[in-house]
Amino acid sequence: MVSPAWEERAYLDHAATTVLRPAARDAFLEASQAWGNPSSVHTAGRRARGVLDEALSRIAELLEVPRSWLIMTSGGTEADNLALRAVPLGVRAKDPSRTAVAVAATDHPAVLATARALAAGPEPLEVREMPVDERGVLRPEGVEAALAGSRASVLSAALVNNETGAVQDFPALAAAARAHGTLVHTDAVQAIGHVPLPTADVDLMSLSGHKLGAPVGVGVLVARPDVPFAPTSTGGGQQRGVRSGTLDAAQAAAFAAALGEALDERERRAAEVRGLTARLRRGIAEIDPEVRFTLPEDSPQSGHILHLVHPGADSDALLFLLDERGIDASAGSACSAGVTQASPVLAAMGVSDDDSRGALRLSLGWTSTQRDVDLLLAALPEALRRARAVGSLRR
């Protein structure tokens, strides 16, 4: 296939992973020369520890939390696993009446599958899934029901949904949870660099490096010091004994550099990205009068994700045709096996299986420009015509 050269392509899948920032790459390469185990007591170890400490201090400063609140992980999934596995078990060990966890029905599988695994395990925990409205926002009565009886140890909800971009109201969620003594966790993986972080309102927050321009393979769980963790990860006892394993100074340095840039330019970039998304929305509506945008323009959202449905189109075919024309896009969250499952996020928002077959997620980031919008809008009419022809083959 003769596909367009890299520089003629439009990358519209920043929610899957964003472009590596040169500052993060430089920081990684420089820090990687300070080899040594940060836990060793000799000179090489101290040198690596120095690089690591500097990176952690910078991350803490940027997030406006003490350094001791940071637990480095391999990414967002591991951070979510700690928050949804080690914390509920840790809380229950101290307070046997805390036998439940509350999760948003639209949460990422890193949260939902972890909670469900606990529900199926020995000494199962009760999993209370909180419903959302058609804007993807948690329904207050559902949150209250999940907190009822003060049995939930942790309430978890993504700050920004990875498929739709819907944003939750954390001051309100935190107030409700605190009234029941329930800890609050947010997966802020998609939020960082796009919306302000609710650091003061939460006890636990998951972050991922590759969504903000650091390499894949590094994440952070921000955890207040009074949050109890069960020892689910055992080993040398690094990082409060919560997450054992030799710390990666180079990844921490890259994370710090990417985070610094992302937060420094957040307000300016977020406004630009919002403008581009609005132009995409208008342009697509002109091309396809039948298009259904999953979130109305005025509902709470991050501004970097535009999720929509082209009724009657086959989204696998649409992604193929867009790719061929130089556009990298997605139908929702990436899936390892390549088999499309009806989106549980859309189902939870009341979208039918038939409609979610024509789904398209366009997500923007720190490298997005008007040219990306123009390329997509130029490629879409023909791609959509063919994707509908494929959709009509379905019996």
């Binding site: 003769v2 096996a337 390549g338 088999v339 499952q341 063919r386």
Partner: protein, 371 residues
């Protein structure tokens, strides 16, 4: 041409895709995901349906230098192949799911989808040969040069229209070893994978267990040709015409000769057993005819009734309306009738009948119960 290469993750389809690309076609590799809940790793001789197979196909595509996608055809596969397989067994017939998959998925769903996306042809690693030597350049389907690997029998149902838009780059290869050697030379890491034989959607290879799980129990009688009840069974789907073992009969035949399943009547749920002679058929009846060229009564043909069987000489007795023109499908009611020179044993309804003239495929049809 713009060519879609179907890539199972095995050696044949990888080499076929590489040859199509080398021939100058614009090739895109596609792995068909045929099951919603796929095993992560391969076990036994299944060779197409695991995540590991998809990953092998991806690595091969990368090595060839072509784009690669996974297409989810699991709904079509379930509805058109797995459900059909179960319904056929429930009706006392013996289906061939690989034939149905070629007919309804590879050379239908996949091909239609490819055409809608702007592809000119689908390329697979099948061992058969397509030549444009029919009247007016019409395509003809031939046995592969490698007779041991020949797959024309399971491909014949594709019909001439699909053949016109298909490429089989391995059809002229003499041996599988050539293909494996070429895979090694091209650095396609799949060259050591074993060939696949089992039914891909029966994960553990236990077809009878699969049928019992899905069809449940439907008890009936085991009778002899006179209707005398000799025993009972848990479902006709446990039997196939010509079967000798596992009949569940206590007393031996009066003459001590072995007995076989000679008929299955789904309506009464009776399994009829009898001596080997009762299995013999000289006349074959088949419906759903798909022909590559016109058929005529009196025409001498060779008939093959199972995947690894021999083609047997015979003569067409009757041609259903519609099947006289190539590419058309006979109505289910209209039957193709055929007389064999020598009687054959074990004609199972539901199996595919393929008619040949030498190595050239004339038509495919589905065998029916009685002459």
């Amino acid at each position: 041409m713009k060519v879609l290469a179907a890539m199972s993750g095995g050696v044949d389809s990888a080499v076929a895709a590489a040859r199509a690309a080398e021939a100058g076609h614009e090739v895109v590799g596609v792995h068909m995901a045929l099951s919603k809940n796929r095993d992560q790793t391969r076990t036994g001789s299944r060779g197409c349906c695991t995540v590991e197979d998809a990953s092998d196909a991806r690595v091969a595509a990368e090595r060839i230098g072509i784009p690669y996608y996974v297409w989810d055809l699991s709904d079509d596969f379930h509805d058109l192949v797995v459900e059909d397989f179960l319904a056929e067994y429930a009706a006392g017939r013996t289906p061939n799911p690989c034939v149905r998959c070629n007919e309804r998925i590879k050379f239908a769903s996949l091909l239609e989808r490819a055409t809608a996306l702007g592809f000119d042809a689908v390329c697979t690693g099948h061992y058969a040969s397509i030549r444009a030597d029919g009247p007016g350049g019409a395509p003809s389907l031939h046995r592969s040069r490698n007779q041991a690997k020949d797959q024309s029998y399971v491909l014949a149902v594709m019909g001439p229209e699909a053949a016109r838009r298909s490429l089989f780059p391995l059809g002229e290869d003499e041996t599988k070893e050539q293909v494996r050697a070429e895979a090694r030379a091209r650095g396609l890491g799949v060259s050591t994978k074993p060939d696949s034989y089992d039914i891909c959607f029966v994960a553990d290879g236990d077809t009878r267990g699969f049928l019992e799980r899905h069809l449940g129990e439907a008890p009936g009688e085991v009778v002899d040709a006179d209707g005398t009840v000799l025993g009972t069974h848990r479902g006709t789907h446990g039997f196939t015409i010509g079967q000798r073992r596992g009949l569940g009969i206590q007393q031996p035949a009066a003459d001590g000769a072995p007995r076989y399943v000679v008929d299955i009547d789904p309506a009464s749920r009776q399994v009829v057993i009898g001596a080997a002679e009762l299995l013999s058929r000289r006349e074959l009846v088949a419906t759903d005819v798909i022909s590559f060229e016109p058929l005529a009564p009196g025409q001498a043909v060779h008939a093959q009734i199972r995947a690894h069987g021999e083609a047997m000489p015979g003569r067409i007795l009757e041609v259903p309306e519609g099947a006289a023109a190539p590419g058309t499908v006979g109505t289910p009611d209209g039957a193709l009738r055929l007389a064999l020179e020598t009687p054959v044993r074990g004609v199972a309804p539901g199996q595919t009948l393929v008619l040949y003239d030498g190595d050239r495929v004339l038509a495919a049809a589905t065998l029916e119960r009685r002459p």
